[in-house]
Symmetry: C2
Subunit: 192 residues, 2 copies
């Protein structure tokens, strides 16, 4: 029997855990970030959602730039740490070794297998958050995370967050191929 | 050594696989949906990104309503099928048993462990897609998917998609607690 689930404000599917990189008052800052999605194919665009109270919000408003960094399971403690403490109170600038691409205010984390530098094109104002839509300027990885020209998730070893049980999860096993697993069903429908 | 990754337009992290439910010209329609994120806490809001060429896009423009349905691993073939064929050509209205909540054009799938009915509050126009920001009207589940008042991911058994390797993944193992795993590091930083 279907029930209405009470905690709608805390609703969460598993989201890939990332770390948001910004410049706040000229200094490198980081925040744990879960609310993001692709929003456009061409040009490649990404949207991230940041609470207006966060230091990173102010940082993005200042510079119009940010990075999205995908940590591996081995980085779970450091990633959690950047979500525990605010950049308003704690200087997180020396926590990670960083590098830069084309942008000057999108610090990327050397130890993260995937890093993305983004330039904001459209901030969408919402009651408690801003959804910062941005163009993906570049994506960086290392050869060791690529297999057959694809990013290899088993080598990257990303992790996910669910709320409000506040649990980090590893990525599981391959269970099928997309645009393929449903082909048998498609044939059955066509034969009807 | 860091390299620029070529396939930026196809960039993808693991996204939780969902099925979008709509009414198109008065008929139930479904589409595989991966690009979505929470965007606001209070009120609880969700944003989904739909290509302007998709039948579901027209459906949402018509009604201003949609549902997001979270299938379990057991539903991988049917889920993939709804992503393989367009509602413009194939009638997908009898594929799932559906139920309704408060909204009249947000059909929810009985067999999905989590279903969410949403009312569009703000469509954001982008070059190839529209990002439909919506209020979460209600979330539905069943008692058997709830443990200690939380949605139980092990019982729900959602799956994820990565592109462009087009692979479905199960959710893996618990690897840590959020807002907790970094506490040791926080203490070390405070003692500095």
């Amino acid at each position: 029997m279907k029930i209405r689930f009470e905690q709608k404000t805390l609703f969460c599917l598993p989201w890939t855990q990332t770390i948001l990189g910004t410049h706040l008052n000229g200094k490198v800052n980081f925040m744990a970030l879960d609310w993001l999605t692709r929003v456009n194919v061409n040009p490649a665009m990404l949207g991230i959602c940041v609470n207006k109270n966060h230091a990173s919000h102010e940082a993005i408003v200042q510079t119009g730039e940010y990075s999205v960094n995908v940590p591996s399971v081995a980085m779970v403690e450091t990633t959690d740490f950047v979500g525990l403490v605010s950049g308003k109170r704690v200087d997180k600038s020396d926590l990670f070794r960083v590098f830069y691409g084309e942008l000057t205010a999108a610090p990327m984390i050397v130890d993260c297998p995937i890093t993305i530098e983004c330039k904001v094109s459209q901030p969408v104002d919402l009651p408690t958050h801003t959804f910062f839509i941005a163009e993906i300027v570049n994506i960086y990885t290392e050869e060791r995370f690529v297999t057959d020209r694809h990013l290899d998730m088993k080598k990257i070893d990303p992790f996910l967050l669910t709320m409000p049980d506040n649990t980090y999860w590893s990525l599981g096993e391959r269970i099928g191929k997309a645009w393929n697993a449903g082909k048998k069903l498609m044939q059955q429908q066509q034969e009807k």
